[in-house]
Symmetry: C2
Subunit: 402 residues, 2 copies
């Protein structure tokens, strides 16, 4: 029922106490508020042991009690009020940040993953790194203010951005944001965000989000394609992002034989689009004309889809994923793209995976960054090094309840 993965060194005598505390926390997080008897039963503990554990966890601020609306505690009703124990998901907050070419976004969630506040600020691909960092700091400050906390109160932060990101949080290379290449994003936010921070490629974050709340729920082996004027991929293997030895996994778009870089040209080169259209609107216009029956636009869409499909075929042959999720601007036109892609997959693949459009659209990256931040908190729950569950800071965390 509650399966916990723990890594232990030797046979530490505090282990059992730790495991019991984690079991109770995990039970309350997944099952919601419970009275002592069902909590003990679900946790596999005797009632007296469960009592000891909930007393400890109440003392450290991880759980609190609420009156049981449904009646009395049947086992010990005489002279005692009914009590439900509840995981205090408001005991801490995490943030997810998405730094993109056209906008930056920050979202604050509680420990249960419920969003408390979000701020999105429009930026321009031509903005320099300093302006983009300043806009990001403003988005963080806005979201924190709206959630009733300070940025310094955050327990962990996931930060997703476009480009190849190494394991130390440095942007090795970004095609979409050339000024981003070489930037140490972890260091750039060390003052604003003194907590644990993980920098991730945006497509990997989006893949995590689709698995968490989007089109890929329940899927562990997943290829996410960001398709727009640039193409990117995020792959999950056994539910974890594939990062590679230096963080550069998934860069199959650099393979010119696959033709990904040129795919958008099939759309951009359509005659009659008119001058001065913003690049990000070109695709929408072509798809609109294709839907209306324009044969030139339909041919352009087919050429684009076939070009996009080559890389998807390569990824499917390589990973044999359960599911492919198509995200990015093109996903809004999945109705006329997915058919062409599926045809190409059927022509080559040993097993054709299901392919669906993103359910989260442009929110995928920031939500994935929140998921990364939540996973960082979970890792601290479930690994040793902290002898007992990390005690939440009482003052600030309570301020965040309002």
């Amino acid at each position: 029922m509650n399966e916990l993965a723990v890594t232990i060194k030797g046979a530490d005598p505090v282990l059992l106490r730790r495991i019991r505390a984690l079991t109770v926390l995990s039970t309350l997080r997944s099952a919601g508020p419970l009275a002592l008897t069902p909590l003990a039963a679900r946790s596999g503990l005797s009632r007296p042991v469960a009592q000891t554990v909930v007393d400890e966890l109440t003392g450290t601020g991880w759980i609190d009690t609420a009156a049981d609306d449904t009646g009395t505690d049947t086992v010990r009703s005489v002279g005692r009020p009914a009590r439900l124990f509840r995981f205090r998901s408001e005991a801490g907050h995490v943030a997810g940040i998405d730094i993109g070419a056209h906008s930056v976004s920050a979202a604050i969630s509680d420990l249960a993953g419920t969003l408390r506040a979000q701020s999105r600020i429009t930026v321009s691909p031509g903005d320099g790194a300093d302006a983009r960092l300043a806009a990001t700091r403003t988005a963080i400050a806005n979201a924190a203010r709206d959630a009733g906390i300070e940025p310094a109160d955050l327990w962990s932060v996931g930060l997703a951005t476009t480009g190849v990101v190494d394991h130390a949080g440095r942007v090795v290379k970004s095609v979409a944001l050339p000024e981003w290449s070489g930037l140490d994003l972890g260091a750039a936010f060390a003052d604003t965000l003194p907590c644990a921070l993980h920098v991730e490629n945006d497509c990997r974050a989006a893949a995590l989000a689709e698995r968490w709340q989007g089109a890929a729920q329940g899927t562990d082996d997943l290829v996410y394609i960001h398709a727009g004027l640039r193409t990117g991929t995020g792959v999950l293997v056994n539910g974890k992002p594939l990062r590679g030895y230096s963080g550069a996994a998934g860069e199959i778009g650099a393979m010119s034989a696959l033709g990904w870089a040129e795919a958008p040209m099939h759309l951009i080169s359509l005659p009659g689009l008119g001058a001065g259209i913003a690049p990000e609107e070109v695709a929408e216009r072509v798809f609109t004309r294709a839907r209306a029956g324009d044969p030139l636009a339909q041919a352009a869409v087919e050429r684009f889809s076939t070009a996009l499909a080559q890389g998807i075929v390569a990824l499917c042959l390589t990973f044999d994923p359960q599911l492919v999720v198509l995200g990015g601007g093109i996903s809004r036109s999945a109705d006329i793209v997915l058919g062409h892609i599926t045809e190409e997959l059927e022509r080559v693949c040993i097993r054709v995976p299901r392919i669906v459009a993103s359910a989260l659209d442009r929110e995928a990256v920031v939500l994935g960054a929140v998921r990364i931040a939540l996973d960082m908190v979970d890792e601290r729950f479930f690994t040793p090094g902290v002898a007992e569950p990390l005690a939440p800071p009482q003052g600030h965390a309570r301020a965040g309840r309002g």
Copy 2:
């Protein structure tokens, strides 16, 4: 020091006893024979607890004692003989099997991974499935006989073969052995090998072997390329084989744009090779002529290497591996192939991984199959479901000591 990964359900009261036993076993397996005091210290146990654990493990046949050649047990020397505790790696045996187009091979190892016997039998690509299965059963019987055990005594078996293998042990498709497609290999060996059996793609097995004993020791992110008249790949991510949702991961060779299928034609089409050469000897002849300075042969090798490199580039962009290992017949000519491949990698890749020739050559697959079998035993050590370490069958296992 001894890091164990365990998965627990709830807070089972037998857990601590289990962990202590596993810790002691793991310590003795990695450190070799130890007296009680250093064993207790390395296991993080008190001396009396360690005594209880070794008594239990001696009773169940997991460990035994040997006289300490180095002197007496310093703590309790009065009236007691010095004793060293030793993991009984001969308590059980596992087998690795490689079923290929040109030969089948079976190897038997003890629980420490030391090979006890091996049998290889030559077969022909044209043999039918029945003949290949019969040769395999003979190889298993030969190796078991030479190791002094019965095939039925084996604790676990890894079986590697060419083709796409699904999670149930069925060959979904094999290009090299068409009659193999659709065969349920797990079922075919159910009578001969009544133990746990895992069927794996041969390239994945070879990748595991290179990591265990070959050119990739200490490497968790690894791309293995089998290059010969056919090309295959086996990928390790975080030390584990990438299998994909249906077992078909790594089949990037099916991507015709990469030109892998045609690569050997650059060798075969070299003029002056003479008629009637066995296909597997063609490559050797061309490489020999290239080494001797024949410009036509050198050009053929360059075209072959460049074609082979396209798929390696795609795999490196996708996985960002720490290391690429080149196996198969071509690996014997790594001296004149790797330079061309590295040039192609440097032209395209964000980070160029090291690329080396296999250290195990044609033994890689059968050794990888042994590693798979050993990992199956380890999984039974380190997961619950067995309330305590699996008791080795005393009779047969002891017969295998000789």
